[in-house]
C-alpha cells in the first residue's frame, strides 16, 4: 500500500495583516506552515501504512523552502518526500498546479492511494485534489471522513455531504480528499525529527519531472487574477452593555425589537 500525499505550504494566517493601500498580504514576518488541513491527510496516510504496510511519500510544489513542510511531514512519520520547485511554476492556478502535481506523481511510479487535504487555507479552493484525480483518471472521493476497509483492490470510505454521510466503494488506485473528522494528527516525534533532519529531500524541476512548461505557471493557467481588494469588515452595528439587571433588560428588549424590525422573528 504505497501512498502519496500532496502537501502545501501556506502562510500562518491567524494574525494576517493586510496592506490597506495595495490590498495585498504583508508577508514579511509571516511564518509558513503546512496547510493545517493537510495534517489530517498525513495522519490518515501514516495510520494506513501502519495497518497495511508500504511507504508514504509527500510532495510539495512551491519555493525551495517548501522543503520545511516535507520535513515536518517526515517528522510525523512519512517515509520521504519531494519538492517540486522552479520559477516556471510561479503563478500556477489550480488547473496548472493539478497538472504539475499529477505529472510528478506519475513519475513517482508505483502507488495505490493519493491523499489530499480538503482545501488549502490560503487559496481555499479545494480544487487541486479533484484536479489531480481527473488528470490521472483514477477513482475520486472528496470530503472523506473515514476509511472503513481496504481489501483486494477495493476500498470503502464514508464522505461527509450535506445532511449526512455517504458510503462509497471504490477501486484502487484512488484519490481521497479528507476532512478533519477523519483523524487526529499526531505530533512529530523526536526520532522522526532526527530522521527528517538527515534525510535529503530531492528537488524536482520542470525537466526532471517531465513537465510541459507551456501548461504551468502564469502562461499555462486558464484563469487570471485581475483585481484584489480588502473588504470592509466593520458593520458599525448597535452595541448595548448589559451590566446590571436594568441594562440587561433594556439590551434584551432592544435586541428583540431589532429582530422584529428585521422580520427575523
Amino acid at each position: 500500500m504505497n501512498i502519496i500525499i500532496p502537501v502545501k505550504q501556506v502562510p500562518e494566517t491567524s494574525n494576517v495583516k493586510m496592506d490597506e493601500k495595495t490590498g495585498t498580504m504583508i508577508r514579511d514576518g509571516v511564518e509558513s506552515i503546512i496547510n493545517p488541513l493537510d495534517l489530517y491527510a498525513i495522519e490518515t496516510g501514516i495510520q494506513l501504512k501502519e495497518k497495511f504496510g508500504g511507504l508514504v511519500t509527500v510532495i510539495s510544489m512551491g519555493p525551495p523552502a517548501a522543503e520545511r513542510a516535507v520535513k515536518e511531514a517526515m517528522a510525523m512519520g512519512c517515509d520521504g518526500g519531494i519538492v517540486l520547485t522552479g520559477k516556471e511554476f510561479a503563478g500556477s492556478d489550480t488547473w496548472a498546479t493539478s497538472y504539475a502535481l499529477s505529472e510528478a506523481i506519475r513519475k513517482i511510479g508505483t502507488w495505490d492511494l493519493i491523499l489530499c487535504g480538503e482545501r488549502a487555507t490560503d487559496g481555499d479552493t479545494g480544487q487541486v485534489g479533484p484536479g489531480i484525480a481527473s488528470f490521472l483518471d483514477i477513482s475520486l472521493a472528496t470530503y472523506v471522513s473515514s476509511v472503513e476497509d481496504i481489501d483486494n483492490g477495493l476500498m470503502v470510505v464514508e464522505r461527509l455531504v450535506e445532511g449526512g454521510y455517504e458510503k462509497l466503494q471504490m477501486e484502487l488506485p484512488a484519490l481521497l480528499t479528507v476532512v478533519k473528522e477523519i483523524s487526529y494528527p499526531r505530533l512529530p516525534t523526536l526520532r522522526g525529527k532526527q530522521k527528517a533532519r538527515v534525510t535529503e529531500v530531492p528537488r524536482w524541476s520542470v525537466d526532471s519531472a517531465g513537465i510541459d512548461k507551456n501548461r504551468i505557471g502564469l502562461n499555462g493557467s486558464p484563469t487570471r487574477v485581475v483585481k484584489i481588494e480588502t473588504p470592509k469588515v466593520a458593520r458599525g452595528g448597535k452595541i448595548f452593555a448589559a451590566k446590571d439587571e436594568e441594562s440587561l433588560g433594556r439590551a434584551v428588549d432592544e435586541l428583540v425589537d431589532f429582530l422584529v424590525m428585521k422580520e427575523l422573528i
Binding site: 498580504m25 490560503d122 484563469t223
Partner: protein, 333 residues
Amino acid sequence: MPHREVWTLAEAGEGKLRQVSFELLSRGRKLADKLETQLCSVLLTGSMSDEDLEQLIKRGADKVYVVESPALENFTVETHSNVLLDLIKQYKPEIFIAAATTTGRTLMPHVSIRANTGLTADCTGLEIEDGTGNLLQTRPAIGGNILATIKTPEHRPQMATVRPRSTRPAPIDENNAGRIIRVEFKNNLEDKRVRRIGFRKNEDQGIDIQSADVVVSGGKGLKKKENFALIRDLADRLEGVVGASRDAVDRGWISYPHQVGLSGKTVTPKLYFAVGISGAIQHLAGMKTADTIVAINSDPEAQIFKVADFGIVGDLFEVLPSLNEKLEEVRSR
C-alpha cells in the same frame, strides 16, 4: 457553432430539485440578459418528470437539458463528469456555473480539467465585464481577508462555483416559457469504478448548517459541553440550527459538522448569532457574509462586535436566559 449559452447546474436529491438550483438561475439570469443569450439549466438525474422540470423554466431557464439514467441516480463524480463533458462538447456553453456544494465542488474541478478550462471556486459575485463580455468572478480568499476578482479570458466555458445562499432563489413566473431537452444517456459514459453503497443521516440535530436561515453558534465562552443546551434552546426558538467555533468543536462540546469558519463551513444565513465567540479571523471567514449578525460577548473589545449589526456586551449566562424568556413572551402574545 460559437460558444453562447449560460448554463447552470441544477441539483436534485430524493427526486426533488434543490433550492440552490433556483439560486443559480437568479445569478444566471443577469449574466444571460447582459450577454443577450439563453439561460439553460442542466440536470443529471435518475429520473424527473416534465412537471417537476417546469419549475426550472418558471424560475427563468429558457432551456433545460436533462440526462436521465439509473447510473445518474446517485452522485459519483466519474460518470457525472463524463456526461457533462460530453454535453459541453456538444453544446459549447459560454459560461457554466454550479453551486459550491459538496457535489459542485467535486464535479466542477473534475470537469474543468478535462474541458481544459479555468474554474473559480466559491464565488460571491459574478458579473459580465463591459467591452470584452468576459465573466468577472469575485471570491474571498486568504481566510476572507481579501476579495479577488478572477477571469478566464481565453478558455471556454468560463466555469465557477457559487456559494450557496449568496443570492435569493429566482422568483417564480408562471408565464415564463422554455423548452425541456432530454438528452439520451450514452451507456459507455458510465464509470463503474466508484459505487455508492449506503447513506446515513447525521443523527445530530441541525445537520445542514449551510442551508439554514438562522444559525446560532456557541464558542469557548460557554465554558462546558452541557451549556450548549442554552444555544440549542435559542436555536429552537428561532427555528434555526446550532453552529460552533473551532474551539468548541476541538473541546468535544459539539461535532465537527457544526463548525463554522475557515476550517469548517461557510454559512450565509439571514441571521447569525455568535455567543461567547471572540471573532477570530478564521471564524469570521465562515460567517461574515450573513445578512444580519448578532453578537453576545462579555469582552467589549471582542473582534466579533466589529462585524455585528447588533451586539450585547454582557455575560451570556445572564443574557441568554433573559433573551429566551423574552422570546417566549413575544411568541405567546
